[in-house]
């Protein structure tokens, strides 16, 4: 795969080249391919990618459950793990939003830590946004045969403005056509611990989402957040759908031949 960055980056003054990947806990545990796809996309855009070993989770489960003490401790750990990198790239709008928007608010009573959190926030980017908005990537060379529909995950969309970037890159994927949902911006019902704390509501929400997905006629569902993807994949599969579910980075990195989320390996 060759990523054409030479022409389009000329108007950016020296984009960051040494970047750290924040893998995210879900990608680490359930879908390592997303991490490798991110590495591939970043390297082909001319970056050197490092994966700081002390990173774990961004702390959202604690933060969103009201456990501010744990959230602060975890945030401090993440801040330390990513010190010194020009850019921190996250293949998730939700975790990216946590670093870029919420960390500083955890340290309102601690100016030194707040400054560090703000510094990290300024260096943190969601993967699609980093590729398109910072590095100026405007196409990839990947191929994927099929019709895909793209779900706009909530945090990426509303906290980070991720909407056009993945679609722009997907346009350049050979053989791929996009068929939009009626309401791609409506929440899929995942919501972290919400989906197990209020399973009936979550189920009603994801059922509506899968109906919208199915009505597009797409054979592939893409999104930029693994939590949402696992939720929608799990529901589609429970409903007996054959729609393949993948993280958008996998398709962009020309890794569309690996088994879809929740499907056994060795089968496409």
């Amino acid at each position: 795969m060759v990523t054409d960055v030479s022409a389009s980056t000329s108007h950016h003054s020296a984009p960051p080249r040494r970047v750290a990947l924040f893998v995210t806990c879900l990608v680490d545990l359930f879908r390592p391919a997303v991490g490798f796809a991110a590495v591939k996309l970043l390297e082909e855009a001319g970056c050197t990618v490092e994966v700081p070993p002390l990173q774990v989770c961004c702390g959202q489960p604690a933060y969103n459950s009201g456990d501010r003490v744990s959230a602060r401790a975890i945030a401090a750990q993440v801040i330390a793990a990513f010190e010194g990198f020009e850019a921190v790239v996250v293949p998730s709008g939700s975790c990216g939003g946590m670093l870029a928007h919420h960390y500083p608010s955890l340290f309102d009573d601690d100016p030194a830590m707040k400054a560090k959190a703000e510094n990290l926030a300024g260096r943190s980017h969601e993967l699609m946004s980093f590729l398109v908005d910072v590095l100026g990537v405007d196409k990839v060379s990947a191929s994927y045969r099929g019709i895909a529909t793209y779900h706009d995950s909530c945090s990426g969309l509303r906290e980070l403005g991720i909407k056009a970037q993945p679609r722009q890159l997907l346009e350049s994927v050979e053989g791929l056509r996009i068929s939009e949902m009626k309401t791609p911006e409506v929440c899929c019902g995942f919501g972290g611990t919400f989906c197990v704390k209020y399973p009936e509501i979550s189920n009603a929400m994801v059922s509506e989402k899968t109906a919208d997905i199915v009505s597009t006629g797409a054979d592939t569902l893409l999104a930029g957040d693994l939590g949402c993807l696992m939720n929608m994949a799990g529901k589609l599969q429970r409903e007996g759908s054959r729609i393949q579910v993948r993280h958008v980075a996998e398709v962009l990195a020309d890794m569309g031949d690996i088994a879809p989320i929740g499907e056994p390996e060795g089968k496409r």
């Binding site: 490798f36 919400f194 929740g262």
Partner: protein, 477 residues
């Protein structure tokens, strides 16, 4: 109003299995949000107006004592009376006394969520005074003895057929014996029945969208004109409003009106916008001879100066619930009290207590759609998170959640141990899930697998294990 917020989870079950409700919600979800979107797009300065609306309300809240007293001075100078009600009980007593002093047998009411909040109808009935709801939606649910399910569309949970049945049952004794099925016919029949009640009413009671300090006016917007009949025909007009409704000037009201109707129904402006400024003056052709404003606090002043203050900016447009996927799934009644949806999830714990309404701020995915449409930019997910923090601090978070969090947090804060545990979990999940690629049931994950399959990770280990194994080399799995 009696709260059932404590039974949120049971309420959810009831709502999800109610086919009429689900029919109604399906329409609401598309209709309101589409109309709001179009209205916002037609007005280039809409986003700037939202900023100004937020700033106006922030300024009013920062100087609330000043503007309330200014409002009182103006109302008094006009010959009206302002009554201060610290609690719901005070407001009920004040209004009851006023109605008795007017010798009232019936009170014509236009829609007021604050009246719901203080359970005014029940109180008036106990006094032998008949409250007549004159807003069509409120009238329908009054006939059915139901609480409102939406702050601007109180009967939005009902289908047309249900309304037809209700009218048929209640209007037949009045001589309307035919069961109507057409929307316009139903409205016409309600209009005829209600018109008689306006003429008979001794007191008119309305809420207020805004209280304007510089003029002492209360401002009301409706689409039915019922408020205008409620406040001009009877001899006494009582305005019931909560204290955060006060704004400095008419100029400010103009800004707020421009975002209110667009956010609520997608209209440029509601059909009727009415200013009530004191009682009937000599020479006026009509109007009430007595004009009273009851200002309700009921826990609101305690929010001032706290991290929760932003909730008081609310202008009750309903956009947050119209765009909320949780509200869209369960409707308003499941929230269990007066204010449903995202704004209800932050107001209700404040007004009736966290112990009673603790589920509400938790039942959100934090999708942020509410905040993205709020005309006064209330950070609703952030406020819900503050409630969760207060619950956690006070040990009101359910024990299994606390224990799970504690264990998870213990591991996350020890990255090396976390790696070993997750590598083991990854290996087991990959191994046992290999054949199918997913799980239909999984221990400790019943909330998930009851409705969805759980994807198994592929073989090969966690990302970090693979990365380390290859010395950080760029391999493909």
């Amino acid at each position: 109003m009696q709260s059932t917020a404590h039974d949120f989870k049971e309420n959810v079950g009831t709502a999800l299995s109610d086919p009429n409700l689900q029919d109604s919600l399906a329409k609401l979800k598309v209709g309101f949000s589409e109309r709001r979107r179009q209205a916002a797009e037609r007005l280039p300065e809409f986003e700037v107006l939202r900023d100004r609306a937020r700033d106006i309300k922030n300024h009013a809240l920062a100087n609330l004592d000043f503007y309330l007293e200014e409002f009182e001075r103006k109302v008094t100078a006009l010959g009206g009376h302002v009554h201060w009600a610290p609690t719901a009980a005070d407001a009920r007593r004040i209004i009851g006394d006023l109605c008795k002093s007017a010798g009232a047998r019936t009170v014509a009411k236009s829609k007021s969520m604050v009246a719901e909040e203080i359970a005014l109808n029940e109180h008036l009935e106990q006094l032998g005074i008949a409250p007549i709801e004159t807003d069509l939606g409120e009238y329908i649910i009054q006939l059915r003895h139901e609480p409102p399910s939406h702050i601007i569309a109180p009967a939005v949970h009902l289908t047309k057929d249900q309304v037809a049945d209700t009218f048929h049952e209640h209007h037949a004794p009045l001589g309307f014996t035919r069961r109507l099925t057409e929307r316009n016919d139903l409205v016409a029949e309600a209009r005829y029945v209600l018109r008689q009640k306006f003429l008979e009413a001794d007191v008119g009671l309305t809420g207020a969208n805004f209280l304007v300090a510089e003029t002492g006016s209360s401002m009301l917007v409706t689409n039915e004109g019922n408020a205008d009949l409620s406040n001009t025909l009877p001899k006494m007009h009582i305005v019931l409003a909560s204290i955060e409704k006060v704004i400095p000037t008419l100029e400010d009201a103009a800004v707020l009106l421009r975002v209110l109707a667009r956010s609520a129904t997608g209209q440029e402006s509601s059909a009727y916008t009415t200013l009530n400024t004191g009682p009937k003056r000599s020479g006026d052709l009509d109007g009430p001879s007595q004009y009273h404003v009851v200002l309700l606090d009921n826990g609101r002043s305690a929010v001032l100066g706290t991290e929760m203050q932003d909730m008081l900016r609310c202008i009750r447009c309903g956009a947050c619930m119209n765009h909320c996927p949780v509200y869209g799934a369960i409707g308003g009644h499941a929230y269990g009290w007066v204010y449903p949806g995202p704004i209800g999830a932050v107001l209700t714990p404040q007004l009736i207590g966290m112990e009673e309404a603790g589920d509400l701020p938790n039942a959100s995915t934090f999708c942020g759609r509410c905040e993205s449409v709020c005309p006064v930019r209330i950070p609703l997910p952030g406020l819900m998170r503050h409630w969760r923090e207060r619950e956690f601090e006070r040990h009101l978070t359910p024990r299994p959640v606390r224990q799970g969090l504690a264990l998870w947090s213990f591991l996350v804060r020890r990255p090396k141990l976390y790696r070993r545990v997750t590598q083991l979990a990854n290996r087991l999940l990959a191994m046992f899930g290999r054949a199918e690629g997913r799980y239909h049931t999984l221990p400790l994950a019943g909330g998930w697998t009851r409705f969805r399959d759980f994807p198994a990770p592929p073989a090969g280990g966690t990302f970090h294990a693979q990365w380390a194994r290859h010395g950080g080399a760029r391999i493909r799995p």
